[in-house]
């Protein structure tokens, strides 16, 4: 039996042999109703680019936010240069040398580049006033080091996204950060901007800075990352050097979970075409989306976050009307310029973000459920048929097994899964012919998930045409008759149920 002291000695030796900049162990983070991370580890070496990989919802962003001090973990330790640290806030993390470049850049638009970089640390002159000259000079020096060609006195407003990103990076460097977190930094950049960014990243790497790099793009991983860690469903899968593996290995690590039989897809008779979408596009967001949808069919839509899946749904439903292309309903060309138009055409849309565009949080379950149905009947001369609706909503509540003592409970007191059921019920009360579901099971527990899947299958059987957008590949594969895959605002293919598998979808979605 090895004594603890020996173990300790081995550990010490290991840590000396491979000095990590950042070590994270046994991290657990729970949000109401969901375990976002469990037993997660992650180790970052100085002078490396370390990519975080995983499907949407794998826990990458939660982990990154823990490293950046946005969230504090429920369990686990964070060690920075060997010492355990507690990061109380993003500011605290920044002061300890961890900086994050946000996806939505966090600069003050109406201030100059220099002012943005040195905010709260402005150089002062003898009178205690801000010394703009020195501030500009300091900025120029910083930019020269990093080979960034931006005028320090330009207003941030006038910069491109790529330039703003450079400013954020320079700001991080000015804090002498040793850990830099970049969340999909190339998502809004052109090719030449990307190569400039990579130059800068390589330069930072040569200064012994450790870079946590989150990306969905496989080729970037091979181009810029030294190591990568894969996460899946809130768990750590493994860490490898990027030279050791192939694309297929990574995809397998990302999606390789067991597909249990939790998708009770039942064969539904497929009817006539109810909707034809032809060359639909929204300027600058997506284009060339064409498909037919039949009664009783479930059309899955897969693609990474930001591939334009939700934008297509919003365009079809008239939230942000399409700028090109046409939609035909039952063979007739239909103009849809508002959700009200879409509802008249028999559509319903369960939006992706339950809180932002779904729930009326201060209102009751009954009020939440009946609101869409009120557009079609259920009222006489403006008076709402409250008792009739209460009966209908009560039936809906029982049919969908919404766990609540009564309909007058506020929706904010329900769990995510039950809220989602209320929102689905809201749309079912409008008796839709075409039901669009955007992430119908995101952030809800397994039991409620299965129930929602069963419900979707039953609706299809009743002849409702369903479009189901989902980031969970097993869900898309398990539920859909056909799968439309999107990548960067374009349709990259439609797969039949028989031919589709996770690898094929990932290939179309991640290019």
């Amino acid at each position: 039996m090895i004594s603890t002291t020996t173990l300790q000695a081995i550990e010490d030796f290991k840590s000396k042999a491979r000095p990590y900049l950042l070590e994270i162990e046994g991290i657990r983070k729970e949000f109401p109703g969901v375990v976002a991370l469990d037993g997660v580890e992650f180790r970052l070496r100085p002078g490396t680019v370390h990519a975080l990989m995983g499907e949407n919802g794998a826990g990458k962003s939660t982990l990154m936010k823990i490293i950046a001090g946005v969230y504090s973990p429920d369990q686990g330790t964070i060690k920075l240069r060997g010492d355990e640290v507690r990061l109380k806030s993003p500011k605290d993390a920044l002061e300890q040398g961890i900086a994050m470049i946000h996806q939505e850049l966090a600069l003050m638009a109406w201030m100059t580049v220099a002012e943005n970089i040195w905010i709260r640390r402005e150089p002062r002159n003898a009178l205690g006033l801000i010394d703009h000259k020195r501030m500009t000079a300091n900025t120029r020096e910083l930019f020269d080091q990093l080979k960034i060609g931006i005028d320090p006195s330009a207003e941030v407003n006038s910069l491109t996204v790529a330039q703003k990103q450079m400013v954020e990076i320079a700001k991080a460097v000015s804090y002498e950060s040793s850990v830099l977190i970049m969340d999909e930094p190339t998502s809004a950049l052109t090719e030449s901007e990307v190569s400039h960014l990579f130059e800068i990243i390589r330069d930072l790497r040569s200064r012994n800075i450790g870079i946590v790099y989150i990306t969905h793009k496989m080729n970037e991983l091979f181009e810029i990352a030294d190591e990568f860690s894969v996460f899946r469903d809130g768990h750590y899968v493994g860490t490898h050097a990027s030279t050791d593996v192939t694309r297929d290995d990574i995809i397998r690590m990302m999606v390789g979970r067991e597909i249990t039989n939790m998708f009770p897809k039942e064969e539904a008779p497929i009817g006539d075409v109810i909707m034809e979408v032809k060359d639909l596009g929204l300027e600058g967001v997506f284009s060339g989306i064409s498909f037919d949808l039949r009664r009783g069919e479930i059309l899955g839509v897969a693609g990474l976050v930001g591939s334009g899946r939700s934008n297509v749904a919003e365009a079809i439903f008239g939230m942000v009307p399409a700028t090109e292309g046409a939609i035909r309903i039952n063979g007739e060309e239909t103009t849809i310029s508002s959700p009200a138009d879409a509802m008249r055409a028999g559509m319903a849309l369960l939006t992706e973000d339950r809180k932002e565009t779904g729930c009326f949080l201060p209102l009751t379950i009954l009020e939440n459920m009946q609101i869409a149905a009120l557009q079609h009947g259920h009222s006489r001369m403006g008076y709402v048929d409250e008792s009739g609706l209460r009966i209908l909503c009560g039936e809906m509540k029982n049919a969908m097994r919404i766990k609540t003592p009564n309909l007058d409970e506020r929706i904010e007191n329900l769990s995510g899964g039950n809220q989602q059921k209320v929102l689905i019920a809201r749309w079912l009360l409008t008796k839709p012919k075409i039901l669009i579901l955007d992430e119908p099971t995101r952030g809800i527990d397994v039991g409620a998930k299965a129930e929602i899947h069963r419900l979707i299958s039953n609706l299809a059987k009743e002849g409702v045409a369903v479009i189901m957008i989902s980031s969970e590949l097993p869900e898309v594969l398990g539920m859909s008759d056909r799968i439309l895959v999107m990548h960067e605002g374009r349709m990259t293919g439609i797969l039949d149920r028989a031919e589709a598998d996770q690898v094929k979808i990932m290939e179309l979605a991640a290019r």
Binding site: P362, I371, S415
Partner: protein, 337 residues
């Protein structure tokens, strides 16, 4: 992973409607003044029906405005123009309500008109002011605060410009009668009943709450949010116009300075009555009680011979306290959710 956070709120909390809290506050305020009355003045505060009648009459005008303002606040907006709209509509309505016995009427050819004419003119003008507020907010997307602030200044300006600052007096008896006796209170309560029903039992009401609770979700649910906002602001303007008519009739004169700060009293009545400034929550019944609380306090301070200056200071504190309470209520909910 069981449904961990499906925690139905405790039944006791549910059974107590928000109105009860406000009623408790009302009773509390009344009792405090009653006690102080005996201690300080040696007489009953509540035991004087005349005082209570005057109090109710005084707050009726603010109450009428507050009914409209409540609906605006439920949508998540605010209306700062109502006090000025009162002045504008009072002036213009009065100019069409003058009696021929007065030699220097504004429109000598239009005297002795039936009372309904100035009433409709006043209410109609209020409606128009509200329509402009609503259209500005819905079409340009400027914050309600700014849109109605503009109307506040403009309407006051129109009231002054209309007679170059001169008051307008000598209404016909029939016009003056709607401001006399219990009429203002009756109008206030009638408006309260109508809009209580409208908010609770009609699509208009359901959509109003929905927009205030989550405008995005309301739009996704097929509600024409912009058109509905125009309606709500128009109704608030119309009620301010009605309040203007009542004010002029009650005073038997109209002045450009009328209705000064009424918008703030109305907002205070709504907020004290439990209407949430973040939208989606509020009841007309609460606003009625809030109005009465406001009246009780003013009347109580006068009864205790508290200096008018102190009254204003205290009123300001109460408004802030009501909003702070609302913010804490919201925070408590967020924590729970």
């Amino acid at each position: 992973m069981e449904n961990v956070q499906a925690q139905p709120a405790s039944p006791t909390r549910r059974k107590l409607p928000q109105e009860l809290n406000i009623l408790t506050v009302l009773i509390g305020v009344a009792l405090v003044f009653e006690l102080l009355g005996w201690f300080v003045q040696g007489q009953s505060f509540l035991g004087n029906p005349q005082r209570l009648t005057i109090m109710i009459l005084q707050v009726s005008v603010v109450g009428i405005i507050a009914i409209g303002v409540t609906q605006v606040i439920i949508t998540g907006g605010i209306d700062l123009s109502s006090g000025s709209v009162v002045a504008m509509t009072a002036m213009i309505a009065m100019s069409f309500a003058q009696t021929s016995e007065f030699a220097r009427a504004i429109y000598p050819g239009l005297t002795d008109l039936p009372a309904i004419v100035p009433i409709l003119i006043g209410v109609g003008l209020g409606l128009m002011a509200g329509l402009i507020n609503g259209a500005l907010i819905a079409l340009t997307g400027i914050p309600p605060f700014i849109a109605t602030l503009g109307m506040m200044v403009t309407a006051r300006g129109i009231a002054k410009w209309y007679t170059k600052g001169q008051p307008i007096s000598f209404p016909t008896e029939s016009f003056a009668s709607i401001g006399s006796g219990a009429w203002p209170v009756a109008i206030f309560l009638l408006a309260a009943v109508i809009f209580h029903v409208a908010l609770r039992y009609t699509r208009y009401g359901k959509f109003t709450y929905a927009i205030g609770a989550n405008a995005q979700a309301a739009r996704v649910s097929g509600i024409n949010v912009q058109a509905h906002l125009v309606k709500v602001y128009a109704i608030a303007g119309m009620l301010a116009g009605l309040a203007g008519v009542v004010t002029a009739a009650r005073a038997e004169t109209a002045q450009a300075g009328m209705g000064m700060m009424y918008e703030l009293d109305a907002i205070a009545a709504a907020v004290i009555g439990g209407t949430s400034l973040s939208g989606g929550r509020g009841r007309i019944f609460g606003t009625v009680i809030g109005t009465v609380i406001l009246g009780l306090m003013m009347s109580g301070f006068t009864f205790l011979r508290v200096d008018a200056y102190y009254q204003e200071i205290v009123k300001g504190l109460i408004i802030v306290a009501a909003v702070v309470t609302d913010v804490y209520r919201q925070k408590a909910r967020v924590k729970k959710g």
